[in-house]
Symmetry: C2
Subunit: 239 residues, 2 copies
Amino acid sequence: MTREHTVRSYDEELSHLTNLIARMGGLAEAQLDGAVQALIKRDSDLASRVIAADSKVDEIEQEVHGFTVRLLALRQPVAHDLRMIVGALKISGDLERIADYAANVAKRALVLNQIPPVKPTAGVPRLGRLVQEIVKEVLDAFVEQDNEKAVKVWKQDEEVDDMYTGLFRELITYMMEDPRNITACIHLMFIAKNIERIGDHATNIAETIHFLVQGTPIRESRPKGESILPDPSQLAKDN
Amino acid sequence: MTREHTVRSYDEELSHLTNLIARMGGLAEAQLDGAVQALIKRDSDLASRVIAADSKVDEIEQEVHGFTVRLLALRQPVAHDLRMIVGALKISGDLERIADYAANVAKRALVLNQIPPVKPTAGVPRLGRLVQEIVKEVLDAFVEQDNEKAVKVWKQDEEVDDMYTGLFRELITYMMEDPRNITACIHLMFIAKNIERIGDHATNIAETIHFLVQGTPIRESRPKGESILPDPSQLAKDN
């Protein structure tokens, strides 16, 4: 009886960990959505709420960290359980970064709301929506432990990089056209970079899910592939 | 006899892990140094070598990841050993990011070498040197398991942020003065941002060392403290 109880309780602990990650993922996703909306609608109240809510994500990360360390110590997990616990630790780090980047987008949205809008920069919301979808998908892949979905997300990183590069060029053009656009365009550039970085962290999570489900690293090299002497026009796309 | 052997072998494994982190740290430090030198001296060969060497750091990260998972499974560590192993996993993630940012600085240095230099931007090398020192100190703190040194590094993050903010303003001024400076200044801005982010990862490592040595998180909130409605001029400093 005692043993059965122990086993059940261990299962409960593992699903508590999965729930923590899912909750953290949901929060990070909402933060990204809020930040992109605040930017599009020039909504400073929403931006402020996103900034204030970042600490909630940090708290869950701390909770995940403490909980995984206790689990490792008390349960001495092996095989899939162990990969799951180490994976949760890594994923929580990526989610914390995603939320952090979202909060930074919201902060820059606040600044942009204090200056006149530049040309219709439809590119930034478009990049935001693409990355939002990717984050949503990778969280689904985690909850469903769906490796195929994770690999799909992993491959989408290239699309994000291409969209970011195009946007970067567009913003440079606006700055060249009129120096009064410079400040706004720089904030938009950093916003775009933050969103692109969120995509990178979603890619990391996809890699972790693959390792977690399959027990091996994703075989092909990362889609963003680094060349030694890159085409300068492509440079903007890497971190 | 067998038991003694097992114990010795476990100690050897733990020190192998510490060595892996120290080696990875040394490489990341060298990458940052190379990138900053390549930028200052407009040395494209050096920049190319830095970019090519990034994969070595990635390889060690993979090795650390595989090794910690095996250690956790086979040795079922507790207390300080467990914190050490989980800490090594986190630190390797930060070091991988540091090297990645250094490689990006080198890539942008390559591009800058193809266009005429802008005004003497002494600020970027200065920021680079400050962050190099911080990375060096935090690696010393890790090797010596020196919590005081780690806390000192942790507090220096504010200095990095202030220097970055000043530099950011200076670069905006150059761009406003002459639109022909825009492309170079944007690369310098992203270089400065990458270096500032390296400082953040050094701060993360300091936090991990504190947890590892003391078994508790650093108490005070992070030095970069997020305000809800930030002064717009300060915005540039957060990620």
